[in-house]
Amino acid sequence: MFDNAYEALNAEGDTRWAFGTGFADPLSGMDTAVPAGVDAADLAAYCLMLGDDALIMSHRLQQWCTCAPELEDEVALANIGLDLLGQARLLLARAGKADGSGRGEDELAFFRSDREFRNVRLAEVTNGDFAFCVARLLVFATWRLALMQRLVDSDDPVLAAIAAKAVKELAYHRDYAARWVVRLGDGTELSHARMRNGLDAVWSYVEELFAAHPVERRVGVDPSTVRAEFDGVLTEVLAAATLSRPEVDGLAGVSGHSGRDGVHTEAMGYLLAELQSVARAHQDATW
Protein backbone atom coordinates (compact mmCIF):
# COMPACT_ATOMS: atom_id res chain seq x y z
CA MET A 1 0.00 0.00 0.00
CA PHE A 2 1.15 3.54 -0.76
CA ASP A 3 0.06 6.72 0.90
CA ASN A 4 -0.90 8.28 -2.39
CA ALA A 5 -1.04 7.61 -6.10
CA TYR A 6 2.06 9.60 -6.96
CA GLU A 7 4.19 7.54 -4.63
CA ALA A 8 2.76 4.42 -6.21
CA LEU A 9 3.63 5.73 -9.68
CA ASN A 10 7.24 6.34 -8.79
CA ALA A 11 7.87 3.19 -6.75
CA GLU A 12 10.85 1.14 -7.84
CA GLY A 13 10.41 -2.61 -8.05
CA ASP A 14 6.93 -2.49 -6.64
CA THR A 15 4.63 -5.42 -7.17
CA ARG A 16 1.27 -3.71 -7.59
CA TRP A 17 -0.49 -5.47 -10.42
CA ALA A 18 -2.06 -2.48 -12.11
CA PHE A 19 -2.32 1.23 -11.66
CA GLY A 20 -5.48 2.10 -9.79
CA THR A 21 -4.79 -0.44 -7.07
CA GLY A 22 -2.44 -0.25 -4.12
CA PHE A 23 -3.70 3.00 -2.62
CA ALA A 24 -6.84 3.92 -0.72
CA ASP A 25 -7.12 7.66 -1.21
CA PRO A 26 -5.87 8.76 -4.64
CA LEU A 27 -4.99 12.26 -3.48
CA SER A 28 -3.83 11.69 0.08
CA GLY A 29 -0.72 13.70 0.85
CA MET A 30 -1.37 16.06 -2.06
CA ASP A 31 -1.95 19.77 -1.54
CA THR A 32 -5.52 19.88 -2.81
CA ALA A 33 -6.15 23.55 -2.09
CA VAL A 34 -7.67 25.19 -5.17
CA PRO A 35 -5.18 27.80 -6.42
CA ALA A 36 -6.12 31.48 -6.47
CA GLY A 37 -7.78 32.54 -9.69
CA VAL A 38 -9.36 29.13 -10.28
CA ASP A 39 -13.09 28.84 -9.64
CA ALA A 40 -13.52 25.83 -7.36
CA ALA A 41 -17.03 24.96 -8.55
CA ASP A 42 -15.94 25.09 -12.20
CA LEU A 43 -12.85 23.02 -11.49
CA ALA A 44 -14.94 20.37 -9.72
CA ALA A 45 -17.48 20.28 -12.54
CA TYR A 46 -14.69 19.95 -15.11
CA CYS A 47 -12.93 17.14 -13.24
CA LEU A 48 -16.27 15.37 -13.02
CA MET A 49 -16.68 15.59 -16.80
CA LEU A 50 -13.22 14.16 -17.50
CA GLY A 51 -13.56 11.60 -14.71
CA ASP A 52 -16.95 10.40 -15.91
CA ASP A 53 -15.63 10.03 -19.47
CA ALA A 54 -12.90 7.74 -18.15
CA LEU A 55 -15.13 5.80 -15.75
CA ILE A 56 -17.86 5.04 -18.29
CA MET A 57 -15.43 4.22 -21.11
CA SER A 58 -13.54 1.96 -18.71
CA HIS A 59 -16.75 0.11 -17.90
CA ARG A 60 -17.48 -0.52 -21.57
CA LEU A 61 -13.95 -1.89 -22.04
CA GLN A 62 -14.27 -4.11 -18.97
CA GLN A 63 -17.36 -5.66 -20.55
CA TRP A 64 -15.05 -7.14 -23.19
CA CYS A 65 -13.56 -9.49 -20.57
CA THR A 66 -14.35 -13.08 -21.63
CA CYS A 67 -15.77 -11.75 -24.93
CA ALA A 68 -12.72 -10.55 -26.88
CA PRO A 69 -11.82 -12.36 -30.12
CA GLU A 70 -8.36 -13.34 -28.84
CA LEU A 71 -6.97 -13.81 -25.35
CA GLU A 72 -4.14 -11.37 -26.05
CA ASP A 73 -6.57 -8.61 -27.04
CA GLU A 74 -8.74 -9.31 -24.06
CA VAL A 75 -5.81 -8.50 -21.79
CA ALA A 76 -4.96 -5.45 -23.89
CA LEU A 77 -8.50 -4.08 -23.58
CA ALA A 78 -8.56 -4.81 -19.85
CA ASN A 79 -5.24 -2.95 -19.46
CA ILE A 80 -6.67 0.07 -21.25
CA GLY A 81 -9.81 -0.10 -19.12
CA LEU A 82 -7.67 -0.16 -15.99
CA ASP A 83 -5.64 2.83 -17.14
CA LEU A 84 -8.86 4.78 -17.58
CA LEU A 85 -10.20 3.59 -14.24
CA GLY A 86 -7.03 4.96 -12.63
CA GLN A 87 -7.62 8.31 -14.33
CA ALA A 88 -11.25 8.26 -13.19
CA ARG A 89 -10.24 7.64 -9.56
CA LEU A 90 -7.90 10.62 -9.53
CA LEU A 91 -10.32 12.94 -11.33
CA LEU A 92 -13.36 12.02 -9.24
CA ALA A 93 -11.34 12.40 -6.05
CA ARG A 94 -10.21 15.82 -7.31
CA ALA A 95 -13.81 16.80 -8.04
CA GLY A 96 -14.96 15.77 -4.55
CA LYS A 97 -12.18 17.78 -2.91
CA ALA A 98 -12.57 20.87 -5.08
CA ASP A 99 -16.33 21.24 -4.66
CA GLY A 100 -15.97 21.13 -0.89
CA SER A 101 -18.62 18.43 -0.57
CA GLY A 102 -16.13 15.94 0.77
CA ARG A 103 -17.57 13.23 -1.47
CA GLY A 104 -15.08 10.47 -2.20
CA GLU A 105 -14.47 8.71 -5.50
CA ASP A 106 -16.78 5.81 -4.58
CA GLU A 107 -19.61 8.10 -3.60
CA LEU A 108 -19.34 9.91 -6.91
CA ALA A 109 -19.04 6.74 -8.98
CA PHE A 110 -21.71 4.66 -7.28
CA PHE A 111 -24.26 7.03 -5.76
CA ARG A 112 -25.15 9.47 -8.52
CA SER A 113 -28.04 9.04 -10.94
CA ASP A 114 -27.63 9.20 -14.72
CA ARG A 115 -28.65 12.89 -14.88
CA GLU A 116 -25.72 13.73 -12.61
CA PHE A 117 -23.13 12.07 -14.87
CA ARG A 118 -21.29 14.44 -17.20
CA ASN A 119 -19.61 12.05 -19.64
CA VAL A 120 -19.92 12.43 -23.39
CA ARG A 121 -22.40 10.03 -24.93
CA LEU A 122 -19.68 8.38 -27.04
CA ALA A 123 -18.44 6.62 -23.89
CA GLU A 124 -21.76 5.11 -22.84
CA VAL A 125 -23.01 3.60 -26.10
CA THR A 126 -23.55 -0.16 -25.87
CA ASN A 127 -20.63 -2.27 -27.08
CA GLY A 128 -21.01 -3.38 -30.67
CA ASP A 129 -18.60 -5.72 -32.42
CA PHE A 130 -14.81 -5.54 -32.16
CA ALA A 131 -14.63 -3.10 -35.08
CA PHE A 132 -16.97 -0.73 -33.25
CA CYS A 133 -14.84 -1.15 -30.14
CA VAL A 134 -11.59 -0.11 -31.83
CA ALA A 135 -13.30 2.67 -33.80
CA ARG A 136 -14.71 4.15 -30.59
CA LEU A 137 -11.39 3.74 -28.81
CA LEU A 138 -9.55 5.48 -31.65
CA VAL A 139 -11.93 8.45 -31.54
CA PHE A 140 -11.98 8.60 -27.74
CA ALA A 141 -8.22 8.28 -27.21
CA THR A 142 -7.32 10.73 -29.98
CA TRP A 143 -9.70 13.36 -28.57
CA ARG A 144 -8.75 12.80 -24.94
CA LEU A 145 -5.01 12.73 -25.69
CA ALA A 146 -5.28 16.14 -27.40
CA LEU A 147 -7.12 17.54 -24.36
CA MET A 148 -4.72 16.06 -21.80
CA GLN A 149 -1.67 17.32 -23.69
CA ARG A 150 -3.00 20.83 -23.12
CA LEU A 151 -4.14 20.21 -19.55
CA VAL A 152 -0.53 19.48 -18.59
CA ASP A 153 -0.35 23.30 -18.32
CA SER A 154 -3.52 23.61 -16.22
CA ASP A 155 -3.58 26.30 -13.53
CA ASP A 156 -4.54 23.56 -11.07
CA PRO A 157 -1.37 21.59 -10.25
CA VAL A 158 -3.36 18.48 -9.32
CA LEU A 159 -5.16 18.40 -12.67
CA ALA A 160 -1.85 19.10 -14.43
CA ALA A 161 -0.25 16.10 -12.70
CA ILE A 162 -3.17 13.83 -13.58
CA ALA A 163 -2.94 14.99 -17.21
CA ALA A 164 0.80 14.28 -17.35
CA LYS A 165 0.16 10.69 -16.31
CA ALA A 166 -2.78 10.32 -18.69
CA VAL A 167 -0.85 11.50 -21.75
CA LYS A 168 1.48 8.48 -21.73
CA GLU A 169 -1.39 6.05 -21.27
CA LEU A 170 -3.58 7.60 -23.96
CA ALA A 171 -0.76 7.61 -26.49
CA TYR A 172 -0.67 3.82 -26.18
CA HIS A 173 -4.48 3.49 -26.32
CA ARG A 174 -4.56 5.51 -29.53
CA ASP A 175 -1.76 3.46 -31.03
CA TYR A 176 -3.50 0.18 -30.14
CA ALA A 177 -6.80 1.31 -31.67
CA ALA A 178 -5.21 2.84 -34.78
CA ARG A 179 -3.33 -0.37 -35.57
CA TRP A 180 -6.52 -2.40 -35.40
CA VAL A 181 -8.48 0.09 -37.51
CA VAL A 182 -5.77 -0.10 -40.17
CA ARG A 183 -5.50 -3.88 -39.94
CA LEU A 184 -9.23 -4.43 -40.33
CA GLY A 185 -9.88 -1.61 -42.79
CA ASP A 186 -7.00 -2.66 -45.04
CA GLY A 187 -7.72 -6.35 -44.56
CA THR A 188 -10.20 -8.63 -46.25
CA GLU A 189 -13.45 -7.61 -47.92
CA LEU A 190 -15.35 -8.77 -44.84
CA SER A 191 -13.12 -7.02 -42.29
CA HIS A 192 -13.24 -3.81 -44.36
CA ALA A 193 -17.05 -3.89 -44.40
CA ARG A 194 -17.22 -4.53 -40.65
CA MET A 195 -14.75 -1.71 -39.96
CA ARG A 196 -16.74 0.58 -42.24
CA ASN A 197 -19.92 -0.16 -40.26
CA GLY A 198 -18.20 0.24 -36.90
CA LEU A 199 -16.74 3.60 -37.85
CA ASP A 200 -20.05 4.87 -39.23
CA ALA A 201 -21.83 3.83 -36.02
CA VAL A 202 -19.29 5.70 -33.89
CA TRP A 203 -19.29 8.81 -36.02
CA SER A 204 -22.67 10.17 -34.92
CA TYR A 205 -21.15 10.77 -31.46
CA VAL A 206 -18.12 12.72 -32.73
CA GLU A 207 -19.69 16.19 -33.06
CA GLU A 208 -20.56 16.28 -29.39
CA LEU A 209 -16.90 15.86 -28.40
CA PHE A 210 -16.05 19.27 -29.83
CA ALA A 211 -19.07 21.25 -28.62
CA ALA A 212 -17.73 23.34 -25.75
CA HIS A 213 -19.65 23.43 -22.48
CA PRO A 214 -19.32 26.81 -20.66
CA VAL A 215 -17.36 25.09 -17.86
CA GLU A 216 -14.84 23.73 -20.35
CA ARG A 217 -14.32 27.21 -21.77
CA ARG A 218 -13.82 28.78 -18.37
CA VAL A 219 -11.58 26.35 -16.55
CA GLY A 220 -10.38 23.67 -18.96
CA VAL A 221 -9.56 23.24 -22.61
CA ASP A 222 -12.16 24.37 -25.11
CA PRO A 223 -12.56 21.11 -27.06
CA SER A 224 -13.29 22.95 -30.30
CA THR A 225 -9.63 24.02 -30.30
CA VAL A 226 -8.44 20.41 -30.68
CA ARG A 227 -10.68 19.60 -33.63
CA ALA A 228 -7.98 20.26 -36.22
CA GLU A 229 -5.53 17.96 -34.44
CA PHE A 230 -8.18 15.25 -34.16
CA ASP A 231 -9.06 15.56 -37.85
CA GLY A 232 -5.40 15.35 -38.80
CA VAL A 233 -4.85 12.11 -36.90
CA LEU A 234 -8.07 10.53 -38.16
CA THR A 235 -7.32 11.50 -41.77
CA GLU A 236 -3.95 9.78 -41.53
CA VAL A 237 -5.30 6.60 -39.92
CA LEU A 238 -8.30 6.32 -42.23
CA ALA A 239 -6.12 6.77 -45.30
CA ALA A 240 -3.87 3.91 -44.16
CA ALA A 241 -7.00 1.85 -43.46
CA THR A 242 -8.40 2.59 -46.96
CA LEU A 243 -11.52 4.00 -45.30
CA SER A 244 -13.21 7.21 -46.32
CA ARG A 245 -14.36 9.67 -43.72
CA PRO A 246 -17.91 8.84 -42.62
CA GLU A 247 -20.72 11.06 -43.85
CA VAL A 248 -22.91 10.76 -40.78
CA ASP A 249 -24.74 13.55 -38.99
CA GLY A 250 -24.05 14.12 -35.32
CA LEU A 251 -26.62 12.78 -32.88
CA ALA A 252 -28.81 15.69 -31.78
CA GLY A 253 -29.12 16.57 -28.13
CA VAL A 254 -32.37 17.06 -26.25
CA SER A 255 -33.27 20.76 -26.44
CA GLY A 256 -29.60 21.44 -27.08
CA HIS A 257 -28.47 19.38 -24.09
CA SER A 258 -26.25 16.32 -24.25
CA GLY A 259 -23.83 14.29 -22.14
CA ARG A 260 -21.98 17.24 -20.60
CA ASP A 261 -25.36 18.54 -19.32
CA GLY A 262 -26.36 15.15 -17.87
CA VAL A 263 -28.63 14.23 -20.78
CA HIS A 264 -27.75 10.72 -21.88
CA THR A 265 -28.91 7.94 -24.17
CA GLU A 266 -31.03 5.01 -23.08
CA ALA A 267 -27.91 2.87 -22.67
CA MET A 268 -26.70 4.94 -19.73
CA GLY A 269 -29.32 3.73 -17.25
CA TYR A 270 -28.57 0.07 -17.95
CA LEU A 271 -24.83 0.71 -17.70
CA LEU A 272 -25.17 2.43 -14.32
CA ALA A 273 -27.45 -0.32 -13.02
CA GLU A 274 -24.66 -2.80 -13.64
CA LEU A 275 -21.88 -0.49 -12.45
CA GLN A 276 -23.61 0.58 -9.24
CA SER A 277 -25.76 -2.35 -8.11
CA VAL A 278 -23.19 -4.04 -5.86
CA ALA A 279 -22.14 -0.83 -4.11
CA ARG A 280 -25.78 0.17 -3.60
CA ALA A 281 -26.82 -3.25 -2.30
CA HIS A 282 -23.93 -3.43 0.19
CA GLN A 283 -23.34 0.14 1.27
CA ASP A 284 -20.94 -0.66 4.07
CA ALA A 285 -18.83 -3.07 2.06
CA THR A 286 -15.16 -2.38 1.55
CA TRP A 287 -12.91 -3.73 -1.21
Partner: protein
Protein backbone atom coordinates in the same frame (compact mmCIF):
# COMPACT_ATOMS: atom_id res chain seq x y z
CA UNK B 1 -2.26 -18.25 -41.76
CA UNK B 2 -5.58 -19.99 -42.07
CA UNK B 3 -8.65 -19.71 -39.92
CA UNK B 4 -8.10 -23.25 -38.69
CA UNK B 5 -4.51 -22.72 -37.57
CA UNK B 6 -5.07 -19.33 -35.97
CA UNK B 7 -2.24 -16.92 -35.29
CA UNK B 8 1.32 -18.26 -35.08
CA UNK B 9 3.06 -18.74 -31.75
CA UNK B 10 5.80 -16.38 -30.56
CA UNK B 11 8.31 -16.66 -27.71
CA UNK B 12 8.81 -13.54 -25.60
CA UNK B 13 12.02 -12.30 -23.97
CA UNK B 14 12.03 -9.35 -21.58
CA UNK B 15 14.92 -7.43 -20.10
CA UNK B 16 14.13 -6.02 -16.67
CA UNK B 17 15.27 -2.72 -15.23
CA UNK B 18 18.32 -4.17 -13.54
CA UNK B 19 18.76 -7.21 -15.73
CA UNK B 20 21.60 -7.47 -18.21
CA UNK B 21 20.05 -10.15 -20.39
CA UNK B 22 16.71 -10.69 -22.02
CA UNK B 23 15.02 -13.57 -20.21
CA UNK B 24 12.41 -15.89 -21.66
CA UNK B 25 9.10 -15.10 -19.96
CA UNK B 26 6.52 -17.01 -21.98
CA UNK B 27 4.75 -17.20 -25.29
CA UNK B 28 1.76 -15.70 -27.07
CA UNK B 29 -0.12 -15.66 -30.35
CA UNK B 30 0.01 -12.78 -32.82
CA UNK B 31 -0.74 -12.20 -36.48
CA UNK B 32 2.70 -10.72 -37.21
CA UNK B 33 5.95 -9.54 -35.58
CA UNK B 34 4.69 -6.03 -34.94
CA UNK B 35 1.57 -7.22 -33.17
CA UNK B 36 3.63 -9.72 -31.18
CA UNK B 37 5.75 -6.95 -29.62
CA UNK B 38 2.61 -5.11 -28.60
CA UNK B 39 0.93 -8.18 -27.22
CA UNK B 40 4.11 -8.90 -25.27
CA UNK B 41 3.94 -5.42 -23.79
CA UNK B 42 0.32 -6.00 -22.78
CA UNK B 43 0.80 -9.51 -21.40
CA UNK B 44 4.28 -9.58 -19.90
CA UNK B 45 5.14 -6.04 -18.75
CA UNK B 46 1.93 -5.20 -16.86
CA UNK B 47 3.70 -5.20 -13.52
CA UNK B 48 6.45 -2.86 -14.49
CA UNK B 49 8.87 -5.68 -15.31
CA UNK B 50 10.54 -4.60 -18.49
CA UNK B 51 12.53 -2.00 -20.36
CA UNK B 52 13.08 -4.01 -23.53
CA UNK B 53 11.21 -6.77 -25.36
CA UNK B 54 12.30 -9.33 -27.95
CA UNK B 55 9.90 -11.62 -29.74
CA UNK B 56 10.66 -14.47 -32.14
CA UNK B 57 8.44 -16.92 -33.97
CA UNK B 58 8.58 -20.20 -32.05
CA UNK B 59 9.01 -22.00 -35.36
CA UNK B 60 12.30 -20.15 -35.87
CA UNK B 61 13.89 -21.59 -32.74
CA UNK B 62 16.09 -24.64 -33.20
CA UNK B 63 16.23 -26.64 -29.99
CA UNK B 64 18.29 -29.56 -28.78
CA UNK B 65 16.39 -32.81 -28.65
CA UNK B 66 15.62 -34.65 -25.40
CA UNK B 67 16.87 -37.82 -27.16
CA UNK B 68 20.34 -36.28 -27.37
CA UNK B 69 20.41 -35.40 -23.69
CA UNK B 70 23.14 -37.88 -22.76
CA UNK B 71 25.63 -37.29 -25.57
CA UNK B 72 25.03 -33.53 -25.28
CA UNK B 73 25.20 -32.92 -21.58
CA UNK B 74 26.42 -35.93 -19.62
CA UNK B 75 30.10 -35.61 -20.69
CA UNK B 76 30.45 -32.20 -19.03
CA UNK B 77 29.18 -33.54 -15.70
CA UNK B 78 32.50 -34.95 -14.51
CA UNK B 79 34.93 -32.29 -15.76
CA UNK B 80 35.42 -30.47 -12.48
CA UNK B 81 38.64 -28.92 -13.77
CA UNK B 82 36.57 -26.75 -16.10
CA UNK B 83 35.27 -24.84 -13.11
CA UNK B 84 37.60 -22.06 -11.97
CA UNK B 85 37.71 -23.33 -8.40
CA UNK B 86 41.36 -24.31 -8.11
CA UNK B 87 42.69 -20.82 -7.44
CA UNK B 88 43.46 -19.29 -4.08
CA UNK B 89 41.81 -15.90 -4.08
CA UNK B 90 43.70 -13.28 -2.08
CA UNK B 91 41.66 -11.83 0.78
CA UNK B 92 41.86 -8.28 -0.54
CA UNK B 93 40.22 -9.04 -3.90
CA UNK B 94 36.59 -7.95 -3.64
CA UNK B 95 33.58 -9.12 -5.62
CA UNK B 96 34.72 -12.67 -6.29
Amino acid sequence: MTQKDGWPLYEVFVRGKRGLNHVHVGSLHAADDDMAVRHARDLYTRRNEGVSIWVVRSAHITASSPDEKDPFFAPSGDKVYRHPTFYDIPDDVPHM
